[in-house]
């Protein structure tokens, strides 16, 4: 019998697990994919919003601000990249200035510190590539960027190190109650009994909510398409550049990433398919077109990849973070769309505290709040690097030449708790295959390392679990 079962190992579920792991409790996370961070959490803008946008008084506003304030310390505790580069919401027409002022006021009401409206002259100094149409912008110095993969992985790893168990490739089919306040989860890998359930199922959260709650919710996958630009585009923007919704509708953002790329997007299209993460010609064209409004000469020709993510948009456009009234012990973390990534630490903490209150959990004195990430060898000095190579020569062997990732880093990514099991798993942890050749050179090498480390045949190595095998057999000469 588990004390708590978290459904979903995205950023929200992993955050809940991490904050629950500070208590004495038996906690399990079940995830239908082969790894953490494979749904909404992996394909988004990678932004920590300052918190001026959400409607004052909403849960979105509350958790966004709290999350934004927690994020920097958390990035040090859990060793994931965070950069408070600041953000600018650019106003492209004098006619839209009242909207800009309203946004400023909303931000102040929400408690966001340091907000100011900057006029064109200063804006041009801050962002030399800003559009000639830009008249002013809302500057939020607390806006930041993070790596959503490493953030989620850090939360999950820390939870695992503190005793939380993770079961991957395990899909929850239904939730029911047995007598005496116990929940029964039916999965494709058998039944699970637990005292409490946390629903952090992203675009599927309404399924589980509606099984347990009278008041139904509806989540619509809202697709966002993105372009990711090469390192050569680094420095094109210094801040996250948003467009103020105005006469052109809602624009797209252009932002630096913590890995020195530039991200451009997203679109927003409601779709039916909850796995519909395909990009479309029209979507990619829209991203290019809209990005050109706030900035001049966006280097979209430097695109190295494009992708789409699905936001878990609930009809009420509000986070649902609460315990069910009909079924105490069932907790929702549903409707977590933007600013969900920014809010994750705050939501995780809040839900963990609700579970704690329900189960009257005690603090676990052995809880370890810190976690060390995979060494990023490319950032070390020559001396530090040589020290590392002397201890383990695998750090001297570059596998991914675009992102300068060594074999040592890849092996660590595979061997550590909740280690990588697929090419994408390796990619999200150490960036092998994330660069400009998009795994052309390194994928055969990474397959070899994965097969060796996991004791598998190369034919069993997958891109991202399931049936995503890279090779289908051997050539004739080998038969």
């Amino acid at each position: 019998m588990w004390d708590a079962v978290v459904i979903g190992a995205g950023v929200t579920g992993s955050a809940v697990a991490r904050y629950l792991s500070r208590y004495r409790a038996k906690v399990l996370v079940v995830e239908k994919s082969e790894d953490v961070c494979t749904g909404t959490s992996k394909a988004n803008s990678a932004i920590v919003h300052a918190g001026y946008d959400a409607k004052n008084g909403s849960l979105m506003a509350k958790y966004n601000l709290e999350g934004s304030l927690m994020m920097e310390d958390l990035s040090k505790e859990l060793d994931f990249p965070y950069d408070r580069c600041g953000s600018l919401v650019v106003c492209l027409s004098e006619a839209d200035r009242p909207t800009l002022e309203k946004l400023y006021e909303n931000g102040v009401k929400n408690g966001v510190k340091g907000l100011e409206i900057v006029e064109r002259d200063r804006l041009v100094e801050m962002e030399p590539n800003i559009s000639d149409d830009a008249v002013a912008a809302l500057y939020a110095p607390t806006g930041a960027i993070i790596c959503p993969f490493l953030f989620t992985i850090a939360l999950a790893e820390n939870a695992a190190e503190n005793g939380v168990e993770f079961r991957f490739d395990t899909e929850v089919k239904s939730i029911g109650r047995t007598g005496d306040g116990v929940f029964k989860l039916v999965t494709d890998k058998g039944e699970i009994l637990t005292k409490t359930v946390v629903n952090a199922a992203g675009v599927y959260a309404d399924f589980f909510h509606n099984m347990m709650c009278e008041k139904k919710i509806r989540i619509t996958p809202r697709k966002g398409e993105y372009l990711l630009l090469d390192h050569e585009a680094e420095g094109f923007v210094r801040h996250t550049i948003f467009q103020l919704p105005g006469k052109f509708g809602k624009g797209v953002l252009v932002s630096p990433t913590v890995h020195k790329n530039v991200i451009v997007g997203p679109t927003a299209n409601d779709i039916d398919d909850r796995e519909g993460t395909n990009t479309t010609a029209s979507g990619l064209a829209e991203v290019m077109e809209k990005s050109a409004r706030a900035l001049k000469n966006v280097p979209v020709r430097k695109t190295i990849t494009s992708f789409a993510g699905l936001r878990a948009h609930e009809d009420g456009h509000e986070f649902i973070v609460e315990e069910s009234k009909e079924n105490p012990g069932f907790f929702d973390a549903a409707g977590i769309e933007s600013p969900g990534l920014s809010s994750a630490p705050a939501i995780g903490k809040a839900v963990a505290e609700m579970v704690k209150a329900r189960l009257k959990l005690e603090e676990d004195p052995s809880f370890k709040a810190t976690r060390k990430g995979i060494v990023h060898a490319a950032e070390l000095s020559i001396e530090e690097r040589n020290e590392l190579i002397k201890k383990n020569p695998a750090y001297g062997q570059i596998i991914c030449r675009c992102e300068n990732v060594s074999e040592g880093e890849i092996i660590d990514a595979i061997r550590r708790p909740l280690g990588a099991k697929s090419l994408d798993g390796v990619k999200r942890r150490v960036r092998a295959g994330m660069g400009r050749c998009q795994a052309g050179f390194c994928s055969p090498r990474v397959m070899e390392i994965l097969a060796r480390e996991l004791g598998k045949d190369q034919s069993e190595v997958t891109k991202s679990g399931g049936e995503s095998r890279i090779i289908v057999g051997e050539i004739k000469d080998k038969w």
């Binding site: 395909n278 990849t305 992708f307 020559i382 690097r385 190579i389 020569p393 891109k463 050539i475």
Partner: protein, 421 residues
């Protein structure tokens, strides 16, 4: 810090030919840095024949061709460090490299030959819409899986792009029992060699659809199908022309990009047309003493020309070490071009410093029939040759004689022009 006179970055065909030629020019302090575990570069996975017709007057496979050069390099006792990745090149020619045994180390070079080759354009750079499942490979990655690792990347294949590697892989996959259904090419002409279209597609009945591209990729885990469509003159898909193919594999052969990350880091000036360094008549980049040759300079069709060009670069690097940095004369004469030429290598010529016979290589931007290539010096025609057909997929060259150019006293203009015959 270790010192070498000539450091060659890359031990593929360009690096090997450069090393051999530098040695034969009298240079003895030469070091080749190669990131792979063996010399020969991408030739090792090119197990088909057709290499060496120009150089050796016989048809060799890629590994055989590489072996000939490797043997020459080994016979000369030239030092090679394998499994060694060059991490950085600085403008003062300090090379920072790394391997398992030596860790990270630095070398001061008097001259450097850039011979890093090229990489394939990826699906992301092509912005092909659709899902991102397993089963999408660049043709070269598939070639490595099949020819080096012995694995089949798929059974039912669609190929986008008719670059040479894609054509070669169409045949290779067919011979291994895969069904290659179609090769779609965005442009109205193939980017590959004519002989490869005949020998790799026509001979196996594989259709080549020009002016077609992939407009959708299906399959959430593994590719299950792709949709191709015809494109208009602006390369935009024409609605209503979509054709669906069930397949488990999409191979991409949509162009090669010189790998100049190190060159850029050092501050070498890069041509936006070739994506390779701008070089003078000695194949020297904008940094004196840094030379470039092979696919890092501009993408070649035939390895024979890579070897030839790289040998020049190697000799010039040795001469640079011997003679030191010659006092800067004028910058040389810019090579201009007209009539559909996209670029020339070199882009400037100094008649004092050029060798007696110099090859200027170039490519045209579209298929042209019945043309004459003419060279004009100071406006006067000094060379011409007839070309029945010229295509973007086939590199062109003209030979320039030093004596001929020096006749003019001072060479003010040098123009290569493609004219109608």
């Amino acid at each position: 810090m270790e010192q070498y006179n000539v450091v060659i970055i890359g031990g593929g065909p360009a690096g090997l030919a450069a090393a051999k030629a530098a040695y034969d020019e009298g240079e003895r302090s030469i070091l080749i840095l190669e990131r792979d575990s063996l010399l020969g570069g991408i030739l090792n996975q090119c197990i088909h024949n057709g290499f060496g017709l120009h150089t050796f007057k016989e048809e060799l496979t890629g590994p055989e061709y590489a072996k000939r050069f490797e043997d020459e390099v080994r016979a000369r006792g030239i030092e090679c460090r394998l499994n060694t990745m060059v991490m950085d090149l600085s403008s003062d020619k300090t090379v920072t490299a790394m391997n398992r045994t030596d860790g990270m180390f630095q070398i001061r070079a008097k001259a450097v030959v850039l011979a890093m080759g090229c990489r394939e354009r990826s699906r992301g750079a092509l912005n092909i819409p659709g899902y991102r499942p397993a089963g999408i490979y660049s043709a070269g990655t598939a070639q490595r899986l099949v020819n080096i690792e012995g694995y089949m990347p798929g059974r039912k294949v669609v190929i986008l792009g008719s670059g040479d590697i894609g054509l070669i892989m169409a045949r290779r996959m067919t011979l291994e029992g895969a069904e290659v259904q179609v090769v779609a090419e965005l442009m109205p002409y193939s980017g590959g060699l004519k002989r490869n279209i005949v020998q790799c597609l026509d001979d196996y009945g594989i259709p080549l659809k020009l002016s077609h591209t992939v407009v959708d990729i299906e399959g959430k885990e593994r590719v299950t199908g792709v949709t191709i469509a015809e494109v208009d003159s602006k390369n935009k898909p024409i609605p209503g022309t979509e054709e669906h193919y069930d397949c488990d594999t999409l191979l991409l052969s949509c162009g090669l990009i010189p790998e100049n990350e190190l060159s850029r880091g050092a501050g070498v000036e890069i041509s936006p047309v070739t994506n390779g360094p701008k070089v003078n008549e000695r194949l020297e980049t904008s940094i004196p003493g840094v030379f470039a040759a092979g696919n890092v300079l501009h993408v070649h069709d035939l390895v024979d020309y890579v070897s030839e060009e790289a040998a020049d670069a190697g000799r010039n690097a040795a001469a640079y070490v011997r003679e030191g940095n010659a006092p800067e004369t004028e910058n040389g004469t810019a090579v201009t071009f007209e009539g559909g030429i996209r670029y020339t290598v070199p882009s400037t010529v100094d008649t004092e410093k050029m060798k007696d016979l110099m090859t200027v290589r170039f490519r045209v931007g579209s298929v042209m029939k019945d043309r004459i290539v003419k060279v004009y010096a100071n406006g006067e025609e000094i060379f011409k040759k007839k070309r029945r057909i010229m295509a973007p997929g086939e590199m062109e060259e003209v030979l320039l004689r030093k004596t001929e150019l020096q006749k003019f006293g001072g060479l003010k203009t040098l123009k290569i022009k493609v004219e109608e015959a």
